[in-house]
Amino acid sequence: MDIADLLTPDGVIASLRAPGKKQVLQELARRAASLAGLHERRVFEVLLERERLGSTGIGMGVAIPHGRVAELTRLYGVFARLERPIDFAAIDDRPVDLVFLLLAPESAGADHLKALARVSRLFRNAAICEKLRGTDNKDALYALLTDGSASAAA
C-alpha cells in the first residue's frame, strides 16, 4: 500500500495553527469531511472516540489519529504540519507537530491495519520527518510523503 493511495494533494495542510489537540482534530476532521463528503461533526466524534482508547501520539512528535466510518467507501488520509508543536499526551510525552489523519470504511478490515502500519513506518523515518518539518510548501510536503512510500515499498 502506498501513501499516494490514501492521500491526495488536497489532503495536505501545510501550516496549521491551532492551540491544542482538540482544535487540531477539529481542523483535520473538517478537511477530511469535505474530501469524503461527510459531516464534520461525525468525523470529529469518531476521532475523539479513538483518542479515548489511548492517545494516537506515537512518539517523536508524530500523531496518527484514525477511526472507522461506516459511510465511507475507501480510505482517506489528511496530513497536517503544525506551526507550533502541541501537547497530544503522546506515548513519549513529546509535543506533536506532524499529524496524519486516517479514516477507513467499516469494510476495510486488514487494509485499515496495513495503511496504519504504512503511515507509522513512514514517520519512523527520521530523515523524512526532518524534511517535513523544514518546509511549508504544500506540493513539497505531498512529494515528500508520497515519494517516501514509493522508495520504501521498493
Binding site: R52, G54, P85, A117
Partner: protein, 611 residues
C-alpha cells in the same frame, strides 16, 4: 615491616589499575571482569608483576597459601551475595521465584551432570572428578550479565531480569553444597547413601534459611533502633552479614543462602540510611568482584594453563552449548517461557566469580590433580565471559527481547524524605533533547503526586512563576513517589539519540488497558470471541498470557500483537498495539503447532479405518 608496606602498595595499585582499566573497557564494551582477570595475570607470578600465590612464588611478594585465598574468597562472595540480595526487589519473586528455584536446584544438578559426562573422558578423570568439574562450573553470575547489558544501554523484560537475578542468587548455595559434597566423597572415598546426602542438603539449606531470616530481621531491628554516626550503619550491616555467614557455616548450614536472604530482608524493608548502606555495599561488592578476579589472575600460571587449554575448552563449550541449554529447557518448560526467552536465559548463564572460588575447594582438600580443576574453571569462565559476555546485547536484539531504554538513571540523584509519606526528592540535570524541554514549564506533564519544587540554572535558583521553559543542564528538584521515577527519568533525562527513530518494541500505538476487547476488535476489524468482547484489555491479556504479566509480554490478536507496556504489581496498566509484529527466531520451531497438523490427519485416518 617493609613486607607489609610493599604488600599494601601492590594491592592498592592493582585495585586502582583495575578501576581505571574498567572505566576504559566500558568505552570499548569489553567485558569488565575479563579486564580484571587479565590484569591479575599480568601482575601475576609469570607476568610482569611477579606477584605469586602459593609456595612457588618467585617474586618478592607472596600470599602464602590457598587458605588465605579461601578466606579472601569467602568474604568477597559474602559481599557479592549480600549486595545481590539487597538489590533483589520483592516484585522479582512474584515473577520469578518458582522458575528461578527450578533453575537453581534441578538446573544446577542437570548442568553439573551433563558437564561431568563430557568432562570425565575429555579431561581423563574419574566420573566423580568429572561431576566435580560440573559442580564447580554450575552456578551463574547475574551481576556479570547485567553489567554487560547495562554497559550497552540494553534492557530486558522484568521477568528475564528477575529470573536471571534470583537464579544466580540461589544457585550459589546449591553449587557450593554440590561441590563440597563431591570433594568430600572423593577425599574420603566413602559412599554415603542418597538419604544421607538429602539429609545434609536439608540441614544446610534449612539452617541457612532459619539463620539468614532470623539474623536478617535482627540486623534490621538493630540498624533501625540504634542511633549511630551515619557512616557506621553500613559497617554494622557489613559486619552483621559476615557474622551471619560465618556463624551459619560454623553451624554446618549454608552461609551463602543465609547471607543472600539477609540481603533480601534488608533490601525490602524500611531500613534507616537505606541509600547509604546500599551504595556502600554496592561499592564493596565491586571491590569483591575486582579482588576475586584479580586473585584468580594471580593464581593461575599461564604455562600450566596452555597444556590443558584444549580439553578445558571442550568442557566449556559443552557447558555453554549443551548442558546449560538442556537444563534451562527442562526447568522452564512448566513455566510458560517463550522460546526466545528460554534461548536467552540459556545463552546468558554467564560464569563469574563463584566457579573460581569453588575451584579452590579441591585444592584446600588436597585432592590429587587439583590444579587442573582450577585450570578448567579458569578456561571455562574466560570462555564464558568472552563468548557469551560479548554477545549478550546482540543476542537480546536478535531474539527480539530488547525493551526500550528508560531514562538515564545516572542523571538522577535521590534522597529519602524521613517523613515524606513514601515520597522522595529527586534531582535531575535536564538532558539535551529531553521531552520536558518542549513543554511550557507551567504545563509539564508530571505524573500524579509529583511536583517540581525548584529549578537551578547555572547555580541560580529560578523564580518558578516567571520561568517559561526549562533549558538543557538546568537542575530540577522534584518530589516524587517512587513508582513515578521512571516517568520522570523519561521526561527529564532521555536525550534524543541518533537520527533514526527506532521502532518501539512495545508497540506502535498505546491503548488504554481498560478499553474493552470488543471496541478494539471493531475499530481494527479483528476477530474477537463473543464472550471476550466485554472484557477489558488488561484482563483479557492477563488470561491469555497464563502468567504474571511483565513489560514486553505479547499476545497474538488477529494479525496484530498486543504488548504489555506497563504493569503495576500483577495488573496490566498500559497496552501497546504492534501493527506489524516481527517474526521472531524460533517462532517456526513451535513443536506443538508444527506437529498438530500431521497428528490431526493421522487421527482422521485412524478414525476412518475404525469406521
Amino acid at each position: 615491616m617493609d613486607f607489609a608496606h610493599r604488600w599494601l602498595l601492590a594491592a592498592a595499585l592493582l585495585i586502582i589499575a583495575s578501576i581505571l582499566a574498567g572505566k576504559l573497557s566500558s568505552r570499548v564494551g569489553a567485558p569488565l571482569l575479563l579486564v580484571f582477570l587479565g590484569l591479575g595475570m599480568v601482575a601475576g607470578e609469570e607476568g610482569l608483576g611477579g606477584i605469586g600465590f602459593g609456595e612457588s612464588a618467585t617474586g618478592g611478594i607472596a600470599i602464602r597459601d590457598v587458605h588465605t585465598a579461601y578466606l579472601i574468597g569467602s568474604a568477597a562472595l559474602t559481599l557479592i551475595l549480600l549486595d545481590g540480595g539487597i538489590r533483589t526487589r520483592r516484585a522479582s519473586f512474584r515473577l520469578a521465584l518458582w522458575p528461578s528455584l527450578a533453575l537453581a536446584t534441578f538446573g544446577v544438578v542437570i548442568t553439573a551432570a551433563i558437564t561431568g559426562l563430557v568432562a570425565a573422558p575429555v579431561l581423563g578423570m574419574s566420573w566423580l572428578g568429572g561431576f566435580l568439574v560440573g559442580a564447580i562450573l554450575a552456578s551463574t553470575d547475574a551481576a556479570a550479565v547485567f553489567l554487560l547489558l547495562h554497559q550497552r544501554g540494553g534492557r530486558t523484560s522484568e521477568r528475564l531480569d528477575a529470573t536471571l537475578e534470583v537464579e544466580s542468587g540461589i544457585n550459589d548455595p546449591v553449587a557450593v553444597f554440590l561441590t563440597a559434597s563431591l570433594v568430600g566423597l572423593i577425599a574420603t572415598g566413602a559412599s554415603p547413601s542418597g538419604i544421607e546426602i538429602a539429609g545434609d542438603l536439608a540441614r544446610e539449606m534449612g539452617l541457612g534459611l532459619v539463620i539468614g531470616a532470623g539474623g536478617g530481621v535482627l540486623l534490621l531491628r538493630l540498624v533501625n533502633r540504634l542511633d549511630l554516626a551515619a557512616g557506621l550503619y553500613p559497617i554494622l550491616v557489613l559486619a552483621g552479614a559476615l557474622a551471619i555467614f560465618a556463624g551459619t557455616q560454623l553451624a554446618e548450614g549454608s552461609g551463602y543462602l543465609a547471607v543472600y536472604l539477609t540481603g533480601i530482608i534488608l533490601g525490602n524493608a524500611r531500613l534507616r540510611a537505606a541509600r547509604l548502606i546500599g551504595r556502600f555495599i554496592d561499592g564493596m561488592a565491586w571491590l569483591a568482584q575486582i579482588v576475586l578476579f584479580l586473585m584468580l589472575g594471580l593464581f593461575v600460571s599461564p604455562s600450566s594453563l596452555l597444556s590443558e587449554a584444549g580439553p578445558a575448552l571442550v568442557v566449556a563449550l559443552a557447558l555453554m552449548l549443551v548442558a546449560r541449554p538442556v537444563a534451562v529447557w527442562l526447568c522452564l518448560t512448566p513455566f510458560r517461557f517463550t522460546l526466545p526467552e528460554r534461548a536467552f536465559i540459556a545463552w546468558v548463564g554467564l560464569r563469574g566469580a563463584v566457579p573460581i572460588f569453588l575451584a579452590m575447594f579441591p585444592l584446600l582438600a588436597g585432592l590429587p590433580g587439583s590444579a587442573s580443576f582450577f585450570n578448567v574453571a579458569f578456561i571455562a569462565v574466560l570462555a564464558s565471559l568472552a563468548l557469551q559476555g560479548w554477545t549478550v546485547a546482540p543476542a537480546l536484539r536478535w531474539l527480539g527481547l530488547e525493551l526500550p531504554a528508560v531514562g538515564d538513571e545516572s542523571e538522577r540523584l535521590d534522597f529519602d524524605l524521613p517523613a515524606g509519606h513514601g515520597r522522595e526528592v529527586a534531582v535531575y540535570r535536564v538532558a539535551a533533547g529531553a521531552p520536558a524541554l518542549a513543554h511550557d514549564f507551567a504545563t509539564l506533564p508530571l505524573p500524579p503526586r509529583s511536583r517540581v519544587i525548584a529549578v537551578l540554572r547555572e547555580g541560580v535558583v529560578q523564580h518558578r512563576e516567571s520561568l517559561e521553559r526549562l533549558l538543557p543542564r538546568d537542575l530540577v528538584f522534584a518530589i516524587v513517589p517512587p513508582e513515578s521515577f521512571e516517568r520522570l527519568d523519561r521526561l527529564f533525562a532521555t536525550g534524543r539519540r541518533g537520527t533514526a527513530a527506532p521502532r518501539d518494541p512495545l508497540g506502535d500505538l498505546p491503548l488504554d488497558a481498560a478499553a474493552k476487547v470488543g471496541e478494539i476488535a471493531d475499530l481494527y476489524g479483528l476477530p474477537a470471541a463473543v464472550e471476550d468482547r466485554d472484557k477489558p484489555l488488561a484482563g483479557f491479556m492477563r488470561r491469555r498470557l497464563h502468567r504474571s504479566p511483565s513489560v514486553g509480554d505479547r499476545i497474538h490478536f488477529g494479525g496484530v500483537d498486543l504488548v504489555v507496556r506497563a504493569v503495576a504489581g500483577d495488573r496490566i496498566t498500559e497496552v501497546g498495539l504492534d501493527l506489524e509484529p516481527r517474526a521472531l527466531p524460533f517462532e517456526r520451531l513451535r513443536l506443538r503447532t508444527a506437529l498438530r497438523r500431521p497428528l490431526l490427519s493421522l487421527r482422521r485416518l485412524l478414525r476412518r479405518r475404525a469406521h
